[in-house]
Symmetry: C5
Subunit: 350 residues, 5 copies
């Protein structure tokens, strides 16, 4: 599930470093709006990507796919981005963080989605450049959780068209965090299924599922914890990019992040508890197996011994001559057997 990409070794930071990523074309869409106007277009020609640069309107450039280097170079030049930022955008194994470069803020976060088909959590890195009147977002591939926001901009629903680019950024982060709740729900369901299994039919497979669940949680945690710092950083940023009035919304996303973290920690605690049940359940079943063995062995071994005694070939064995010797022996066996059965019954072994 997890691929760790090695960063270039000692190589100067530059765009060419990302040559390992497949060369599929990027898809670039621009949404430009203010309270009254609204433009949306898909860019085919790199030259067009910065046309709204100097307009006072809010410009959201979204790029799906990180392979078109000329595009990145143009953006870098036109918007004056730092080479390290470009390198970070291309390296899709970043830890969520925010960096304030004065004239713009750079953010990376992890967008999680649940792949129903493979019952797996998928991680995609989203980078954002937030300037005074523009937002550039970079995604690894097409498909994201921002469609409802695009719809809201188009239909001028809510306050989004009346607010600045910092409110746009808030809605995007909010959408990312909201999606975490979906993932947590899926994991919560998995845990419930596993617990059911644990109680009824625990197998070595259950154990492996618990393990893979714990693993998923380790990586979920790695994605979520730094979000706290990220949003905190935005809240405390002295950059002019973030307006005071947006602070209250950031506080709200911050609370949601804390809630996600809390839930991840609770789920971790629960998963640990499951392991304990599993181990105790194995031990219990071994106990059961042992008891069955012991009951069979302990009852029949003495009986077999009695039969063995009267199977000896001594010349002089008085009992063998008795008329009812055989029945006496059978009764003796029955008596011993019943005594032992009662003994184990009293010990509550069955």
């Amino acid at each position: 599930m997890i691929k760790r990409k090695r960063r270039r070794l000692g190589v100067a930071p530059k765009i060419a470093a990302s040559s390992g990523i497949s060369a599929k074309e990027s898809k670039v869409t621009i949404i430009d709006y203010n309270e009254k106007e609204f433009h949306e277009k898909e860019i085919k020609n790199i030259g067009e990507c910065c046309i709204f640069k100097d307009a006072p309107t809010v410009t959201w450039i979204n790029i799906d796919g990180l392979t078109q280097h000329e595009l990145l170079e143009k953006l870098t030049r036109d918007y004056g981005l730092h080479p390290l930022v470009v390198e970070d955008i291309l390296n899709t194994d970043q830890r969520p963080k925010m960096e304030d470069f004065g004239s713009y803020i750079y953010m990376v976060m992890k967008m999680l989605s649940y792949n129903q088909a493979e019952a797996e959590v998928e991680i995609e890195q989203v980078s954002m450049i937030l300037g005074n009147n523009f937002l550039i977002s970079f995604q690894e591939k097409e498909g994201d959780v921002f469609d409802s926001i695009r719809e809201r901009i188009r239909t001028a629903k809510g306050r989004i068209r009346k607010s600045g680019v910092d409110y746009l950024v808030y809605t995007l982060i909010d959408a990312v965090i909201d999606n975490y709740f979906l993932i947590l729900e899926k994991i919560g369901e998995k845990i419930e299924v596993l617990e059911e299994e644990l109680i009824n039919t625990p197998t070595q497979e259950t154990m492996r599922n618990i393990h893979s669940l714990k693993r998923e949680m380790i990586f979920l945690r790695k994605s979520v914890w730094p979000m706290r710092e990220l949003i905190n950083g935005l809240q405390k940023s002295e950059s002019s990019v973030i307006k005071k009035s947006t602070g209250i919304f950031l506080r709200d996303v911050y609370d949601h992040t804390i809630q996600v973290i809390d839930t991840v920690e609770s789920l971790r605690d629960m998963a640990s508890g499951m392991l304990d049940i599993y181990l105790s359940s194995i031990s219990n079943r071994m106990n059961e197996v042992m008891k069955v063995l012991t009951i069979f062995a302990a009852i029949f071994i003495p009986l077999t011994f009695i039969a063995g005694v009267y199977g000896m070939n001594f010349k002089f064995m008085p009992e063998l001559e008795w008329k009812y010797g055989y029945f006496v022996a059978l009764s003796l066996m029955a008596a011993v057997g019943i005594t032992l059965v009662l003994f184990f019954k009293r010990k509550k072994w069955f």
Copy 2:
């Protein structure tokens, strides 16, 4: 026991979001008082809910049920609440927190109650809006822990009628926290019952009870820990809503919260310890089973072997011809058996 409600995804914060909640009517009661006057009424007409808004008296509006949206909209308009606050009130899966909006303070907390019938802890979210002379409290359903406070207001008992709205808020928080002690007591009793069971008759069921207890504690902890921050926030609030003189009472609730947290942590430690006893107790019982098996097998297998030897059909077996051969053989068996019994006795196996 725990239901995680998914928050709306990327949807603009607005009241309509709560449409998932059942449409039962809310019950609204207003208590308005100062040292001399006292009014209490149940509101049937939404228009009435803000009638005491501009009066200098303390007004406590309590709303049970979160489904009457017009009511919420009216309150929002009349008291100038932020849309995010309304959203948080409607989302009943909040983490306890307090937020200072300048002219009012918003608080969420978890009211726990013990459902005797189902032997379960029930969680209900209580939101409060605390303004200069009003308090609006929102609950998920009817029934709460505030009745004794209402009674104190009615009868002008204690200092409550002489004090402001911040003292009222203190008594409400105090009542919520006090109720946690009740829950802790119930859990403490459960632990005692479980320990008794563990020592006398541990079963797989006991294990599951320990597990569900740990789970309850995880969620209890999630409700209690943030209360610390909440009360701390109130104490340090620079808002004019909280008067200096109330600080000492808040310090008192704060101490109680710490005590609840301490107790939750101690109970967690105890529950972990129980698991260790359980596992060691299973191991001990397996040991017992093994010993029984070993004693039976180790004593009778050699005896059966001796019987087997004298059951062989060799033509020439001198012992078989002896007059007392049979008795010698029986004596030999007895000797071997007694030796083995003594051997296991000395090993302290029984």
Copy 3:
């Protein structure tokens, strides 16, 4: 061992709340002294309890038993105590803490004593009100660890008669903390006894003792940890009640508290380690049992099989006709048996 008392629910803080406590009379003693004078008397009449209130001498009022409400009311009135303080004094399930009320400082701590008869640690709550020239101490019942201090005051030994009330408070706290060392010693002894037992004759009982030891430590910890804050609070108090010169003594008690905490943590670590030994020791013993079983079974089952073969009743079995057939068979059995014994010897099973 631990009784959790539920606090009153939503009831206004007042003295009557403590009605649950038995109505035995309180015992009140006053010690009043300065460098030259010394008075000690047992108060029978409530009116007398505040006679030294305005004297410049140091007054120590000690109250054993919390049931005489008129007395508490008088003290409250005369010394101007806050109602919450009175409530805290009466609620004997407080967490150790100190609170600065300006004109006086309120402290609660836990006095531990070891009940030799029941081999148990007993907890008693001690509350203290420290004013400019008076100290009021409240205890749950008679008997405390302060006798040597009383003796020192009587005999004017050491600096105590020359110092103020803050030095008196230091000696009292010091005596309480000193007693913790005694308790730790007792627990240390218990651990040594348990370890001896673990190594020699571990039983399910040992396990339970370890568990109850851990439990004792959980509660000891709960009593000791907050003492750190308490003393720290006294040290940092800006109240005029604590003189600069006493600071050095408080630092000393603080160091002792840290030492107690350190030791509690070490003992906890040791107790956890014991559990591991216990579990491994059970496993080892099961191994031993298994080995005995395996050796017996593995040696005698093949022999019994051989005997069984020659006990078959086939018409034509050449060996049976041999003259030394029987002895050959016995020798064969001996050979098989010895081989197996050697096999297990080489495996170091015995």
Copy 4:
């Protein structure tokens, strides 16, 4: 893998202390450059080592091997190093740290490399003295991760030739940290191999591999954690040696360090999880063994008992005389056997 070298005991800090290290000659290379000029030479004569000392160009003196004491003494004298710095350079068991001596900054870090041949992580200590226009680096032996940087300086690629000595230091630290990712990747691969093994064929050897993996992680952690402080120290340094403009690059390395730490922690969590699988897998296999034993024993012991009964030699045993007695007995055995097989089938034992 780990050798802990004892520091000299109570001996005054001086160069002679390092006499324990083998006396192989050190290899000294000097790279001196600015935007236009570039010199690189290997020093054979100690006198030459400080020739660029007063030049305004950036001078990088790299020393492989710590045995040439005259060289160290000359550097110490010429560059005015503190004796403790020299001692720290010679003691190759330092914890990564940075110390600001005003006119120069001293840094120690751990350079990790993966020895493919022995499948082991190797640790080498790198010390650096960073002055206004010089950098002296000390390594334990030849071979490092800096070759690409040397190449960049030679070819004037990137910004390195245009920047000062602080940018050079950044590239060196970056190269060291980058190499940690390689190591983490190797460990990640090991974990994957081990997990495969755990699931398919867990042996005692697997357990030992997990243990040695955990050990490697303990030491990796010890190397990486303090790097955080080191880079933080550089960032916050008020020394004139670090220019403002380099801060952004240090922030970047800092982020990478955090990422390494995060990954180490995640790998640790995973390794712990593996242990749990291992233990549960052993328990499961014991269960399997027990079941086989129980099935064999429980089925054949009753059958053997029946055979034993009809092997008794009583005079009067009616069944023996029956014509089909033998077949009835065989059928009885078959019936008992099949019943037991069905019983275990229903218990899902096979």
Copy 5:
């Protein structure tokens, strides 16, 4: 190994409290030096001990044994020590700490030494009083780690004779910390021996050794952790006793302390890992035992059953009459036996 001494209960701090310590005479040596002069003498007469008090030279008074109370009283009087300091010196169960009394600094630390004969770590408390031109050190008994420092003073080696008393204190602390590395090395060796044992021949004894190792580490940790604060306190002390120039040396000892702490933590982690190996190794061995038992039982029980069948005494058993019946039976047994052996081989049980 660990003796916890109870402190006096409620007794005023005074020298007589130490009466429990054996009355052997103390040994007092004075070393007095400056750059040019040097005096060393063993004091026999208490009057002599303060003769260098007013000299501007550095005076180091070392006292081995804490039993000569007149000596302590004289020092207390002459150097104006606080009674609590004297009490702390006499109580040899102190936690390492430093206290600044303005005119002098008081320090306690733990000097560890390895008793080769008993393979045990021994703890001795060293107290130091550091004044402007004097240092008084108290040790529990003769023999310490300071001999090389004395030698350096005598021979005027290094900077020690040129520096003040604060440099002397630094060298003493450095010597104490250096010795910790020796102890850690010994413990490291023990761990290696134990791991070898664990892998090859784990016994219950190994378990106990791991336990005692963990215990040693608990106490080592208790001695080392507070050293961090102690040295930190010295570094940040505003007392005139510590000169600025010594700060760099203190930073060095601080680094060493951190290194010791790091190593202790790593060793603890390793010891925990050993326990896991131990438990898994016991489980594995039980598995082995079980397999042996199962193989023997499962192979021979069916064979014995066959023999039992043909040992029945039915009148009419056709097989018994067959000419080759016996050999057919033997072949059948061989076939069954071989099948089972192959079955277990395929299950990889041997």
